[in-house]
């Protein structure tokens, strides 16, 4: 939900044991071992019980319910009525749905690369050890914490409206085109600008990755007379590719789910629209309109599942492409 927190990589597994395979004491007798194992199983599930309850009640159960709703007509008041694939055919035939897909894809395709390039560029700048580095790092990170708030969306709307700062700057350069937030074609770029403004979160992750590149590699490259550009391309990029992969995955998935800022900058879905001529009607805004304003819970569930499929596809493609460009060090880090 556009939160400040990015999530963790999914490539982790639990192959590392938290306990030594052969303990410091003599191997216990089988009976004692069995007792201990039983006790560990019990303790494990006891400690896990909140999570298990939450998983069943708030994740797995709702997912099954949502899948069922997707094939029904459900308005919250009458019980769901099975209508087969009607929601999906209505969805695909709906020009507003197609428009929202288009707006969202454009937002993801334009916003994510710019944000990540900015993040990497600034991370490379900050990776140089100079005075004030920690200050800049903190300052650049701050927008990621407040960027998802209603306050910033309100400020954004103001800055990008007619005759406000951005418009005036454009007028100064003779390319005044009016405020972005009032223009159906431009409003989405004000949202792109808002996400790029929050480049700090991926930047911090890039910085941590850059710190782990062994200095000897650059020293050896210097001896060989490799240019800066070559060093970046042949050393830096491959070495940080796992971090780059992580950032691409997370930022892309997050971008698909943009809601609050589009809803506020677009003026809210009050009156059933988002932005001038639906200019900022991103996918989740339309989902909200259909589900909570038009009480079409079945249709909205079908839309949510399409979003899940899209996100799953993107994730799968990224993971598949991983072996072509992501270099993991032997033995893992």
């Amino acid at each position: 939900m556009g939160s400040a927190v990015t999530h963790a990589p999914a490539t982790e597994d639990l192959t590392r044991d938290s306990e030594p395979r052969h303990g410091p004491v003599k191997t216990p007798r089988p009976a004692a071992l069995k007792r201990r194992r039983r006790r560990d199983n019990l303790a494990g599930y006891l400690f896990m019980s909140p999570w298990i309850a939450g998983f069943l009640l708030l994740t797995a159960g709702p997912m099954v319910a949502s899948l069922y709703f997707a094939f029904t007509d459900y308005d919250l008041f009458d019980s769901p009525r099975w209508i087969g694939l009607d929601n999906f055919s209505e969805m695909f035939g709906d020009p507003r749905w197609r428009h929202s897909v288009q707006v969202t894809l454009w937002y993801v395709v334009v916003g994510t690369p710019i944000k990540l390039i900015a993040a990497l560029g600034v991370a490379l700048l900050l990776a140089q050890k100079r005075r004030g580095q920690a200050f800049y790092r903190a300052a650049f990170y701050a927008p990621s914490l407040i960027g998802a708030s209603v306050s910033v969306a309100i400020v954004w709307k103001a800055i990008f409206s007619d005759d406000a700062a951005v418009d005036r700057t454009q007028q100064f350069f003779g390319i005044g085109a009016g405020g972005w937030t009032g223009d159906p074609d431009l409003i989405i770029y004000s949202l792109v600008a808002l996400t790029v403004w929050q480049f700090g979160a991926p930047m911090v992750i890039f910085l941590a990755g850059l710190k782990q590149v062994p200095r000897e590699l650059y020293e050896a490259a210097n001896v060989d007379g490799a240019s800066r550009l070559r060093q970046f391309w042949n050393i830096t990029l491959p070495m940080i590719s796992p971090v780059l992969f992580f950032n691409v995955l997370l930022e892309t998935i997050h971008s698909f789910q943009i809601f609050s800022s589009a809803y506020i900058v677009g003026g809210g879905a009050g009156g059933n629209a988002c932005g001038p001529a639906d200019g900022s009607m991103v996918y989740t805004c339309y989902l909200y309109v259909q589900g909570f304003e038009n009480s079409r819970m079945g249709l909205a569930s079908a839309m949510a599942w399409m979003l899940l499929v899209a996100v799953a596809l993107v994730t799968a493609v990224l993971f598949w492409s991983q072996k072509r460009w992501v270099h993991y060090e032997e033995g893992g880090r």
């Binding site: 044991d17 909140p50 800049y136 909200y288 949510a304």
Partner: protein, 296 residues
Amino acid sequence: MSAQATDVTPAPSTRGALRRKLPGSLAWHIGSLAILAVILYPVIWVIGGSFKKSEDIVGSLDLFPGDPIISNYTSLADGIADISVSTFFFNSLFLAVGSVIGILVSCSLTAYAFAKIRFAGRNLLFTLMIGTLLLPYHVLLIPQYVLFRNMGMINTYTPLLLGKYLATEAFFVFLMVQFMRNLPRELDEAARLDGCGHFRIYWSIVLPLCRPALITSAIFTFINSWNDFMGPLIYLNEPGKYTVSLGLKMFVDQEGLANYGGMIAMSLVALLPVLAFFLAFQRYLIDGMATSGLKG
């Protein structure tokens, strides 16, 4: 692109190398300051704007007004739609603190099980937990709403808090698992030999050592809860129960044009707790972010 190698070689000893380094340093600071200006512009804009007359806020390019006024702030004392602004703050604070407590308890228990107990099915559950990290929240939005509605919990804070007490925020579980795995094994192994049960180890050994991870999780939870807009938008429908985010949205809808200055002032006031947390704890936040991207 061939003479720049001097930049990278450590400790330039000659004066010539030092002189060649200076322009680089200057460029670095100019670049950083330029980015800083772009980053800070909206923040300075909102601070300046909150002291301007409503009609001057959008059009005027001056960051700070010649004759600052405070009526934007005093107008907030009248409240929004007859509800005092402090009500929204209290509601947000209640939810944020409630969320922090829930996350700290439930996620640390779950993380302890993953990191320190070997039990049957652990790897499967861990994979499921990681899977929920990538799941778009919107798939759960409607069925969860239907569930809470059937339980008569619309317009209560339960839907916004329950998940926090059931460790559904997998990110924090993951963060704590990573931290706990890196604690020295000898400690809990020794405690076990002394006859400590898992709960004792969790409470007396692991939790105190996990303080940095707990602090990071607490701050992120507070900020996320404070900023959350979609949850309250869906579950709360009585203005007296609104959070700051919803109150602000109501302000925009009802008085936005009439009292533009008040809206800008309120936007800034709503940000203050997050900014304060950031200033106080930025090291924990940034370190927490950095470790989440790196394994182990």
